[in-house]
Amino acid sequence: MQASAAIAEDSEWGQAEIGKLGLWLFLVSEVMLFGAFFASYLSTRLGNADCALGVTVWPEAGHLPGLVMATVNTLILLTSSYTMVRAISGAERGDRGRFRTNLLATIFLGAAFLVVKTFEYRLKISHGYYPGSELAKANNGLSIFLSYYFLMTSLHGLHVVAGLVWNLVVLAAPPELPAEKLALKAEYAGLYWHFVDVVWVFLFPLFYLV
């Protein structure tokens, strides 16, 4: 009796839920990827007096403009998550106009994040804040910190690019696609986009504020 009940419960798993479960599995692998880097970064800064955690490592010159850019980027990504939610609800309601407008806004904001990031990298490089620079060679702690900074923020940037491509694919969905299928496609893309936002939520304080 119990076995048949379990089978009946299993049959409740629709194609959409199985797809979402697969996506969650993929996101967990991403959690492990970023988690490994975060663990390594935290332990390095905890165990190194030159770039001790809790003290801003960035030298004074150019720090404030860099912090402003990172804060703006945080607001951009949070807003893009909100527009993504609105795009998904538009697709769920069968409101194509709302779906397209908000997904376009999400894509625009994602691109804006990358533009601001590029300006921030330019600022850092202009001050000699990159691994291998004369400044970094003279300061081991700064050198280690910069290696992590460029590695993790560029890895995150690649994820933003992947999210943008995914969003563009969903945007290009044919108009005859049923609302339910469009909503599901949007929800999958949204899950990934929100994950990229979550990663930035941790990168921001750990690389700019402490």
Partner: protein, 98 residues
């Protein structure tokens, strides 16, 4: 048969409230970063706020509140792995040479 639109999984008002909460918490993070009340306190506050923000995004925007137990089990495996990585590195810090 015409495909019907489904009911939205997150109401507009709730989504807006979460978004505003996230903006407020971002302001709190920046303010906490400006504190000079001690390393451990500053880092702890920043990480707690980041965790709250991530939870809000996960629970509401990613729809975790509607997910089945199996999804939470999968996420727990990821969280456990990251915890093992974090905790596993600490002995290296404790026993390192000065």
């Amino acid at each position: 048969m015409k495909a019907e639109a489904t009911h939205p999984q997150l109401e507009d008002g709730v989504a807006l409230a979460i978004y505003l909460a996230l903006l407020t918490l971002t302001a709190a993070t920046v303010a906490a970063g400006a504190l000079h009340e001690g390393r451990l306190l500053t880092v702890s506050i920043a990480l707690i706020i980041a965790s709250v923000k991530a939870s809000l995004i996960g629970w509401y925007f990613m729809g975790l509140r509607r997910e089945r137990a199996l999804t939470f089990g999968i996420l727990a495996v990821g969280a456990l792995t990251v915890m093992i990585l974090l905790v596993g590195i600490f002995p290296d810090l404790t026993f390192r040479r000065p």
